[in-house]
Chain length 168, copies 2
C-alpha cells in the first residue's frame, strides 16, 4: 500500500503554514507524497528541506486537474470531512492491499468531491483541523505502526527522558 | 480526569491559525481547556464562537506566568516534543485518575520546560506539527473514546455516507 494525500483549495500566504504542517504530518505518519492543486513553491521548498535532512523519500507534487487526479486514481479514495462516517467504522473496511488516496479539503470543498470518493470519513463530527484529522486517520490506518517507521535521514533523534539528542 | 492544554510561545498574527487549530483540536479530542501565555483575543473569539454553536464546555484562558502555572499544576504534566520518549511507551504510565496538563511548544521552547514536567513525549521522532501531535496524543490518552464524546451543542452533525447533514 502506498498513501497519497491530496490537499484541495490551498490559498497562497494565508494557508502556507497549515499546508506545510499538513505535508509534514503526511510524511511523519507514513504517507508517500502530498499533491496540491496549486503550485506554491514556498511550501514545496520548506517540505523538501525537511526531507533532505530527515530522510524518508516523501515528495511534494502538483496537479492541474484534481478532478482527473481523483477519478484516475487506482486504489481506495477517502475524503476526510467532519460530515462523513466515523473513522473507527470505516478504517476496517479499507482494503490495505490497495493504494490509498486521502483527500483533505480546505475552506470550501466542491460538493462533487463527496460523490467521487469511496469513503467520506470523519475524525470526530466536530470542527477542528485538517492537520489533526489527517494525523489521526493515518495513525488508525497504519494501526500505529507508522510511528516506528525508519526514515534513514542525515539527522536522527534519539528519544530522551529530558532534553534533546540528535545524531548527525 | 480533566485535561488542560498549555500552548507556549504563541506569536500574534503569524500563529493565529495554528493556535486556533490547536484549540479546536484540544476541544474536539476531549480536553477541557486551552491556556495561552499571551492574550490574543482574536484566537479566543474564534474558538468561543465555535464553542457557542457546537457545545461542549471548553474554555480558552490566559496566564501571566506559564512557569508558575506548570509548577503549580496538581496532576500529571506532559510536554509534547519530538525529542521525548515515544507516546506508545509513555501513555500506559500516565495515572488517569489524575488531571493531565499537556504542554505544547511553539517555535522555541525554553529548555527548563523539559525539567518541569513529568514526561517529555514524542508523537514520532520526526518534525511535523504540534496540531498533529496533540490530536494523536489525546487520541491515545483517551484510547479513542473521545471520538464518541457528546457535545450537546446547538449544531450537531449526523454522519453521512455522502453529503452533509446538520441538525439545529
Amino acid at each position: 500500500m502506498s498513501v497519497t494525500v491530496l490537499r484541495l483549495g490551498h490559498r497562497f500566504a494565508r494557508d502556507a503554514r497549515i499546508s506545510t504542517h499538513l505535508a509534514l504530518t503526511a510524511r511523519a505518519f507514513g504517507a508517500d507524497r502530498i499533491v496540491y492543486d496549486v503550485e506554491d513553491s514556498s511550501v514545496k521548498s520548506s517540505v523538501d528541506a525537511i526531507c533532505e535532512s530527515w530522510g524518508g523519500g516523501f515528495s511534494v507534487e502538483f496537479v492541474k486537474s484534481w478532478r482527473k487526479y481523483i477519478s484516475g486514481f487506482d486504489g481506495v479514495r477517502v475524503h476526510l470531512t467532519m460530515y462523513g462516517l466515523p473513522t473507527q467504522d470505516v478504517v476496517p473496511k479499507i482494503d490495505l492491499s490497495r493504494d490509498v488516496l486521502v483527500v483533505v479539503g480546505g475552506a470550501k470543498v466542491p460538493s462533487d468531491v463527496y460523490q467521487m470518493v469511496d469513503f467520506n470519513v470523519a475524525v470526530g463530527s466536530q470542527p477542528h483541523s485538517e492537520v489533526a484529522a489527517l494525523a489521526v486517520f493515518l495513525d488508525r490506518l497504519f494501526a500505529g505502526a507508522e510511528l516506528g517507521k525508519e526514515f534513514d535521514g542525515r539527522l536522527r533523534i534519539v528519544p530522551q527522558e529530558r532534553g534533546k539528542r540528535v545524531l548527525e
